[in-house]
C-alpha cells in the first residue's frame, strides 16, 4: 500500500499547472522527473508480485523477478543480458487490443512463444545507429525483437523468448550442402565437365544452397536445348516426374 501511496502522491504533484504545461523552472522539472520515476519504479513491485501470483499460483516454479524496462530509450538490462526471458504484459483497456511489442536485445536469432506454447512470428530489427551530435542511450541492445501481442480486455499474457544458438543450424545446412556437392561432383567428374563459368552460375548455386536442407538429394540432367542443369530433390517422388 505504501508504494502505491507514493505513486498516488507523485500523480497528485503532477496536477500542478506548471507540471502539466511545462512552465516550471528547469530544476523543478528535473525534480518532477525524479519523483515520478522513483514512484513508478517502486510501484512496479506490485505488478511483479501480482504477475507471479497469477502465473504461478502454487509457487511450484521459480519466482520470476519482473523488471520494468526503459523501452522509450530502447534499453532493457534483462533482455539484453539474458539467453531466455519472459515478457509479461497487462492490457489496462476494457477491449481487445493488438499491440506491437518491441523488446531491446543484442544481435542473434530469437524464438518468441505465445502463451499456448506456439512459436509466433517475430522480427528482429536493428536499432538505428546514433545520429551525429545526438547523445545516445547507454545500452548493450543493438536490435529490437518485434512481435504482435493480442491481448484480451484487462488481460494478462506471458511470452517466452529464447535466443537461439548462433546460426548453428544455418552453418551446418550450408556446410552439408557443399560437402554433398563436392561428393557429387567428384563422382561425376569423369563423365561430366562442370565449370562455374560466370557469376550467374554462382548465384544459382548460392540459391540452391539457401534452399538445401540436410538429407536432400540432387538430380542433374541435360535440358532439351543441350544445356546442363540440376535441381534439389526435396521429395523422392519428384524424381519420377522429372523430364530427363
Amino acid at each position: 500500500e505504501f508504494v502505491l501511496d507514493e505513486l498516488r502522491s507523485a500523480l497528485g504533484v503532477m496536477q500542478h499547472h506548471d507540471a502539466v504545461t511545462g512552465t516550471e523552472k528547469e530544476h523543478v522539472a528535473h525534480d518532477y522527473e525524479r519523483i515520478l520515476d522513483s514512484a513508478i519504479r517502486d510501484a512496479s513491485l506490485i505488478a511483479n508480485q501480482a504477475f507471479n501470483k497469477i502465473l504461478n499460483p502454487n509457487e511450484s516454479l521459480p519466482t520470476l523477478s519482473y523488471k520494468r524496462c526503459r523501452f522509450n530509450e530502447s534499453s532493457c538490462p534483462v533482455s539484453e543480458n539474458s539467453e531466455q526471458f519472459v515478457v509479461t504484459m497487462y492490457n489496462p483497456l476494457g477491449w481487445d487490443v493488438k499491440q506491437p511489442i518491441r523488446v531491446p536485445v543484442t544481435e542473434g536469432t530469437y524464438s518468441v512463444f505465445a502463451p499456448n506454447g506456439d512459436e509466433i512470428t517475430s522480427q528482429l530489427i536493428k536499432i538505428p545507429d546514433p545520429v551525429k551530435n545526438i547523445p545516445t542511450r547507454k545500452s548493450k541492445a543493438t536490435h529490437e525483437i518485434v512481435f504482435m501481442a493480442y491481448l484480451h480486455p484487462l488481460g494478462i499474457k506471458s511470452f517466452f523468448i529464447r535466443k537461439n544458438k548462433k546460426d548453428k543450424r544455418e552453418t551446418k545446412r550450408t556446410k552439408d550442402f557443399y560437402l554433398n556437392v563436392n561428393d557429387y561432383f567428384k563422382n561425376l567428374k569423369d563423365n561430366i565437365d562442370i565449370v562455374i563459368k560466370s557469376e550467374e552460375n554462382l548465384k544459382s548455386y548460392n540459391d540452391m544452397a539457401n534452399n538445401y536442407q540436410s538429407g536432400d538429394n540432387f538430380a542433374s540432367f541435360n535440358t532439351n536445348d543441350g544445356k546442363y542443369d540440376e535441381k534439389i530433390i526435396k521429395n523422392p517422388q519428384e524424381l519420377e516426374t522429372i523430364d530427363w
Binding site: S65, N81, P100, I125, N133, P135, M148
Partner: protein, 332 residues
C-alpha cells in the same frame, strides 16, 4: 492511336469527349453500376499511379506509402484512393524582445512567438528501409540533430512516426522550435479540429474566431491550438488524424497540412512568471526528445470513433520482463 494523329488541342479534347461518351454508353449497356455522371467524373479525376522501377513502397494489407528514388514519401495509397503525402521537418526561430509590450515579447515557456512567417527548412534523407513480417520501417536522418523512423505494422490501420529530436543547437545564439508537417492534398478549406486539453474536440478555422472579428497580429502563433490527443483535417472524402503521445501545439496553416511542435529550446524568458529561459542548461548540451505520432486515414463522415485508438496509444500494455534462467520452456 486516335489521338496521336490530332494536331490541335481542340481536336484532342473533342476526341477525348467522344471517347468518354462512348465509354459511358458501353458501361451503361453492360449495366455497370455507376449511379450518375458525378461518380464517373470522380473516377476519371482519380490520379493514376504507375509503378516505376526507381520507386518503392512500404506497405501492409491496408495501405501503402510510396517512396521516390531518394526515399522521400510521396503518396499514401489506400485501396480506393491515392493521396499525396509528405512528412517534412522544419524549425521556427524564436522572437527576442524586452517584454515591455506584446509586440516586444520574447518567445518563451508560456509564449510561442516565431520571428518569421515561414519556418526554416531542414535537409534530411532516408538512410535505410527495413521490411519484414511484423513491421516495415523507413529511417530518416536530418542534418540538425533529428532522426525519425516511419513504421507500418502488420494489420494496423495507421503509420507511426517515431522521432528523436535534439539537443537543439544554439551556438548561433538563436532559440529554435522544431516542428513536423504532414502534407497531403486534402481540401480542408482552412478548417481543422483539435481536442483542446482533452475535453472536447473543437472546430478551428484559420485566422478566425467564432465569437468576434479577428485581426491577427501574429499569424502563426495566433493559429496554434493545444493538442492533447488528436488533431485532424478532412475533406469530402478523407479524414486525416494525427494522434500524439503527449500534449503538443498544433495547427493547419496551409491546405491539406497538419503541423505539430516537437521540441523547443529558447534563450529568453517571456516574463510570464517562470523567470528563466526555456534553455536546457543542466546537462550542458540540451535535451533529446523521443516521441511518436500515429497517422490515421478514414473515410470522411464515417462513424468511426478514434477514442479507442487514442486510449490504446496512451494506455499501452504494461510490459515487464523477467530473466528466465532457471525456467525451462516446458515449465513455462
Amino acid at each position: 492511336n486516335v489521338l496521336k494523329d490530332k494536331d490541335s488541342s481542340k481536336e484532342y479534347f473533342d476526341e477525348i469527349e467522344k471517347l468518354r461518351v462512348g465509354v459511358e454508353r458501353v458501361l451503361e449497356k453492360s449495366g455497370y453500376p455507376f449511379a450518375n455522371e458525378e461518380e464517373l467524373r470522380m473516377l476519371s479525376d482519380e490520379p493514376r499511379i504507375v509503378e516505376r522501377e526507381d520507386e518503392s513502397f512500404i506497405e501492409n494489407e491496408h495501405f501503402k506509402l510510396r517512396l521516390d528514388s531518394s526515399g522521400q514519401i510521396t503518396h499514401l495509397i489506400l485501396p480506393d484512393r491515392t493521396l499525396n503525402m509528405r512528412i517534412q521537418f522544419y524549425y521556427w526561430t524564436g522572437c527576442i524582445g524586452n517584454n515591455t509590450k506584446p509586440s516586444e515579447r520574447s518567445s518563451g515557456a508560456y509564449i510561442f512567438r516565431p520571428e518569421t512567417t515561414q519556418p526554416k527548412s531542414m535537409s534530411f534523407k532516408t538512410t535505410a528501409k527495413h521490411q519484414g513480417p511484423v513491421v516495415q520501417e523507413l529511417w530518416i536522418e536530418g542534418d540538425k540533430n533529428l532522426a525519425a523512423s516511419v513504421r507500418i505494422y502488420h494489420e494496423k490501420q495507421f503509420f507511426e512516426v517515431d522521432y528523436v529530436v535534439g539537443p537543439i543547437d544554439i551556438t548561433d545564439n538563436t532559440g529554435k522550435e522544431y516542428i513536423v508537417r504532414y502534407e497531403s492534398d486534402l481540401v480542408n478549406n482552412g478548417i481543422f479540429y483539435t481536442d483542446s486539453n482533452g475535453r472536447q474536440t473543437l472546430k478551428r478555422r484559420l485566422n478566425e474566431r467564432p465569437q468576434w472579428n479577428l485581426t491577427l497580429e501574429e499569424p502563426i502563433a495566433g493559429n496554434y491550438y493545444p493538442v492533447t490527443n488528436e488533431i485532424f483535417i478532412e475533406d469530402k472524402d478523407t479524414k486525416m488524424t494525427i494522434l500524439t503521445d503527449r500534449s503538443q501545439g498544433g495547427t493547419s496553416l496551409e491546405e491539406g497540412q497538419i503541423e505539430l511542435m516537437l521540441h523547443r529550446r529558447l534563450l529568453h524568458d517571456d516574463a510570464f512568471g517562470v523567470g528563466e529561459a526555456l534553455n536546457e542548461t543542466a546537462n550542458g548540451v540540451g535535451l533529446v526528445v523521443r516521441g511518436k505520432q500515429r497517422v490515421l486515414f478514414r473515410n470522411a463522415g464515417e462513424n468511426y470513433n478514434t477514442t479507442k485508438e487514442i486510449l490504446a496509444m496512451h494506455l499501452e500494455p504494461i510490459v515487464l520482463v523477467a530473466d528466465a534462467k532457471g525456467l525451462t520452456y516446458d515449465e513455462w
